[in-house]
Amino acid sequence: SQELEQSPQSLIVQEGKNLTINCTSSKTLYGLYWYKQKYGEGLIFLMMLQKGGEEKSHEKITAKLDEKKQQSSLHITASQPSHAGIYLCGAGRRAGGTSYGKLTFGQGTILTVHP
């Protein structure tokens, strides 16, 4: 079965700093999702990457998918306290071009942003 490992497990940064969170898969990545979770709450969808080399941005958050390295990275530029939370990567399975909703998740990266 596929395993996802996120690094770092936790991150404390000063407001305004850039940061990167990595998600490495034990198997080929076909579809990769990034979510943000506040403690005890639901998962907020950030981005979905479906092709190797794909890069997407939303506001100050950019995510890339490197199929060869079986890895995705999430980069936040000029972090703000509102970025604080738990970032989760989730990988879907694809067969014949179809992506399924059975996602395997990483353990999460806890981000703290100090003002």
Binding site: G40, E41, G42, L43, Y100, G101
Partner: protein
């Protein structure tokens, strides 16, 4: 923006009791899922549901669990006889098509005493 809505937000039950967790998906969603997250652990897949039947389930989803969408709107997860280890946050999720993003609800925290 439409959301996936789950009720209740918190449910406390005694071991051996039945619980029903409810979800109202976004109206254009066709694929539905339940996930759970035990405190301090990863989010894990339980079951997927499409066209009024289960399409896939994990080994966690044993005979004590069932899902249904009785009225075409609510999507429910039933646990027949709860165990202490069923205590977790349960998330409902949905998507409009097989390759569109998966949207999660805010979860129901189930505590079994």
């Amino acid at each position: 923006e439409p959301e996936v809505t789950q009720t209740p937000s918190h449910q406390v039950t005694q071991m051996g009791q039945e619980v029903i967790l409810r979800c109202v998906p976004i109206s254009n969603h066709l694929y539905f899922y339940w996930y759970r997250q035990i405190l301090g652990q990863k989010v894990e897949f339980l079951v997927s549901f499409y066209n009024n039947e289960i399409s896939e389930k994990s080994e966690i989803f044993d005979d004590q669990f069932s899902v249904e969408r009785p009225d075409g709107s609510n999507f429910t997860l039933k646990i027949r006889s709860t165990k202490l280890e069923d205590s977790a946050m349960y998330f409902c999720a949905g998507r409009a098509s097989y390759n569109s993003p998966l949207h999660f609800g805010n979860g129901t925290r189930l505590t079994v005493t």
